[in-house]
């Protein structure tokens, strides 16, 4: 816990806040890519410490939010119709599919379990040889090593009743998608610290160069975030566009080679559909063909009809930072965390839910 208090130190926060105020001379729009950063910004009330001219835009980095409805339907189908033990991270189970959420399926008698680790699911598969166990492997590069490792372990244990329903997405292609949108107004990125812990920073320098914008790899604690924002603003003010690493205590340029090795062993890069955004080329991972027996998508032949997104939901525009959650006509009225119309209202890391929970009617607290 010492570690935590150090990066939540009010004095250091105050110093960074003042330095940001001194440095800014004109309006800047910065996107924090990762949902964890969004969560920390709102939870700690950081947004209202920033100068009015600095706009933080909440990016597409919430894995729960960008998981396609179709895949949730598939998970529900596996749990309900195929009788599998469907294991998932906690915040995924409330996300509504086109019909129902995993939580509702659980209430209806389906065997849905909340786990903290996919390795726990492997244990369940080992202990229940007569049951099919499926882990809903959602996440960015950060959660991929553990999900991949679960497949390696199941393989080593010779388990034939374990598979993963993978919905892995990759950050750099999403950043490109944001920048390729002609309506984008993003001028800099805070890159996701924990994604870079795994993958390293190598992919980001070319992006900074190509799109001519600053990218600062940033951590999640208040001191980290403010430091990252300050580093970004300094570059912006000087007209620079380079890759910098604020989160040096955790992120190495080469990332974590062991983790990358296990990812390579299990996953291959594919085109991936992002909820609210659409298909982004080479933006996801799925289980390698040779490990097909561990891929729930291939193991269970399930064909779920694609359902269109709610036409009133502007999730895509929100995820790309073109609109703010509270600029949506449905925000807080027809769309709320109890009955979300679109993905960003679902998870506490989603931009819309973050706005709803932490700022409803207290506009001065967020803007």
């Amino acid at each position: 816990m010492k570690h935590l208090s150090e990066y939540r130190d009010p004095e250091q926060v105050e110093q960074y806040v003042q330095e940001i105020h001194r440095t800014v001379t004109r309006p800047w729009t910065i996107m924090e890519v990762c949902g964890g950063q969004t969560h920390s910004l709102v939870k700690n009330g950081i947004l209202n410490l920033l100068p009015e001219s600095v706009t933080m835009v909440h990016g597409p980095g919430c894995p729960v939010c960008v998981t396609p409805v179709n895949l949730i339907d598939k998970a529900v189908y596996l749990a309900e119709e195929k009788g599998v033990m469907l294991c998932s991270f906690g915040d995924m189970i409330r996300v509504p599919g086109s019909g129902k959420s995993l939580l509702e399926a659980k209430a209806g008698g389906a065997d849905v379990r909340i786990l903290y680790s996919p390795l726990e699911a492997v244990r369940l598969a080992r202990d229940n040889p007569d049951r099919e166990v499926v882990f809903f492997a959602v996440g960015f590069e950060t959660t991929a090593p553990a999900n991949a490792l679960s497949v390696v372990q199941a393989h080593q244990l010779g388990l034939t009743n374990y598979s993963i329903l993978a919905s892995h997405v990759l950050v750099p292609p999403a950043m490109e998608a944001v920048m390729n949108d002609p309506d984008t107004n993003i001028q800099a990125f805070l890159a996701a610290g924990h994604v870079c812990t795994i993958m390293g920073t190598g992919e980001y320098a070319p992006l900074a160069e190509r799109y001519r914008l600053p990218i600062v790899v940033t951590g999640f604690e208040p001191v980290d975030l403010l430091h990252g924002i300050l580093m970004t603003i300094r570059q912006l003010e000087r007209g620079e566009h380079k890759l910098e690493n604020q989160y040096t205590r955790v992120v190495r340029a080469e990332g974590n080679p062991d983790a990358r090795r296990v990812i390579d062993q299990v996953f291959e890069v594919v085109d991936r559909e992002w909820r609210g955004i659409g298909t982004i080329p080479r933006s996801g991972w799925e289980v390698r063909r040779e490990l097909a027996s561990f891929d729930a998508n291939r193991k269970f032949s399930v064909s779920i009809a694609k359902v269109p997104e709610c036409p009133d939901c502007i999730a895509g525009l929100v995820l790309k930072g073109i609109r703010k959650p509270n600029e949506c006509t449905q925000f807080g009225t027809r769309c709320n965390p109890e009955r979300p119309l679109g993905a960003p209202m679902v998870s506490s890391e989603g931009a819309c839910a973050a706005y709803y929970h932490f700022s409803s009617a207290l506009s001065d607290c967020v803007e």
Binding site: M1, G36, G45, G90, D91, E120, L362
Partner: protein
């Protein structure tokens, strides 16, 4: 406090459907232990109900206990069933006197488990100074319950100086918490299947009635509201108060200071790790008090000298600035709304 009560010798060691039939087996179960253990003149009549002699303002409450697992670090479902109802009465400003006690047992529960629960009930009732005067036992088929469910109802006599209601909360009042928050919830979490993590955390389940009574003796009507933040934690109770008072002539909101919230370091660490917010985690031996500003410091000082009040602190105030809302000033000085949870708090992916 541990009570040394050896289990009586019985010719069965597992609860079966027959024990809920009302026939011989039920009698064996009750007479072998329950009546003896919980003995008092009102219960000893073995009648269908208890006849109580009550005068004056009376508080009446009920609660059901379905906690999983029923045995957890620092307590059992039995202690919760007594303390929870005792505390609900205390929060009304009442002095708890009588409890009813109803069991729904799942076939297959062992007699030694049931006995352990009974002993913890006895211990908790003695500690709180309440009598169990009536009760019931039902048994359901295996798979239709979760080992043991308990319902208790309680009756208490209103403290003569108590005047507690949400309507009495005034702008400027101070908000006080009696102890470290989120301890109970995290202790339970640490032993839930699939989430087990190593910790020495113990549930804080405790009877708060004696402490509350002393405070009522000394501060009387300066105590405007008492609430125990059990399910949904501190955030939920504060939101309920703010919502209740978002109508009428004086609409109020609540400000809280993150830096003032007492949370054990180990609890904060576990919450951090599991992606939970301690403000929404359940408590058992903790209460919130809203008191007149001019007595707040003395109130906290006194509370710190009373049982279960050592870590008491002023954590916020009542305001007219943002009616209907609870606003937290974070440790670093940022502000945010603390909203009502939609459902159960779910752990985040990353």
């Amino acid at each position: 406090m541990q009570l040394a009560c050896p289990m009586p010798k019985l010719d069965f060691d597992v609860i079966t459907l027959g024990h809920g039939s009302g026939g011989t087996l039920t009698h064996k179960l009750l007479e072998a232990g329950v009546f003896d253990l919980l003995k008092n003149p009102l219960l000893d009549t073995h009648h269908d109900g208890a006849i109580l002699d009550l005068t004056g303002k009376t508080a009446f409450t009920t609660d059901s206990y379905v906690i999983s697992p029923p045995f957890f670090p620092g307590g059992t479902i039995g202690e919760l069933a007594v303390n929870g109802t005792v505390n609900d009465l205390a929060m009304c400003g009442a002095i708890p006197r009588y409890l009813s006690l109803s069991f729904i047992l799942e076939e297959g529960l062992t007699m030694s488990e049931f006995w352990a629960v009974l002993v913890s009930i006895k211990t908790a009732a003695d500690q709180a100074g309440v009598q169990i005067v009536t009760g019931d036992t039902k048994v359901v088929e295996r798979g239709k319950g979760d080992r043991i469910f308990i319902n208790t109802a309680g009756i208490g006599m209103l403290h003569p100086k108590a005047d507690i209601s949400v309507g009495r909360v005034q702008p400027g009042d101070k908000l006080i918490v009696s102890g470290n928050i989120a301890t109970h919830g995290m202790a339970i979490m640490s032993v839930r299947e699939g989430l087990e993590f190593e910790t020495s955390l113990q549930s804080d389940t405790a009877p708060l009635n004696h402490t509350v009574r002393t405070l009522l003796d000394e501060f009387g009507p300066a105590i405007h509201l008492l609430r125990d933040p059990t399910r949904g934690g501190v955030a939920t109770v504060l939101n309920e108060i703010a919502r209740d008072r978002n109508v009428g002539p004086t609409r109020i909101g609540i400000d809280i200071q993150q830096a003032s919230l007492p949370v054990l370091e180990e609890v904060a660490g576990a919450c951090e790790l599991l992606g939970l917010d301690p403000l929404y985690v359940a408590n058992e031996g903790v209460f919130l008090a809203i008191v007149a500003a001019d007595v707040a410091e003395r109130f906290v000082g006194r509370l710190q000298t009373l049982p279960y009040g050592e870590s008491a602190a002023v954590i916020g105030r009542v305001t007219t600035e943002h009616p209907g809302q609870v606003v937290l000033t974070s440790r670093i000085g940022g502000r945010r709304v603390v909203s009502m949870l939609v459902g159960e708090q779910l752990p985040r992916i990353c």
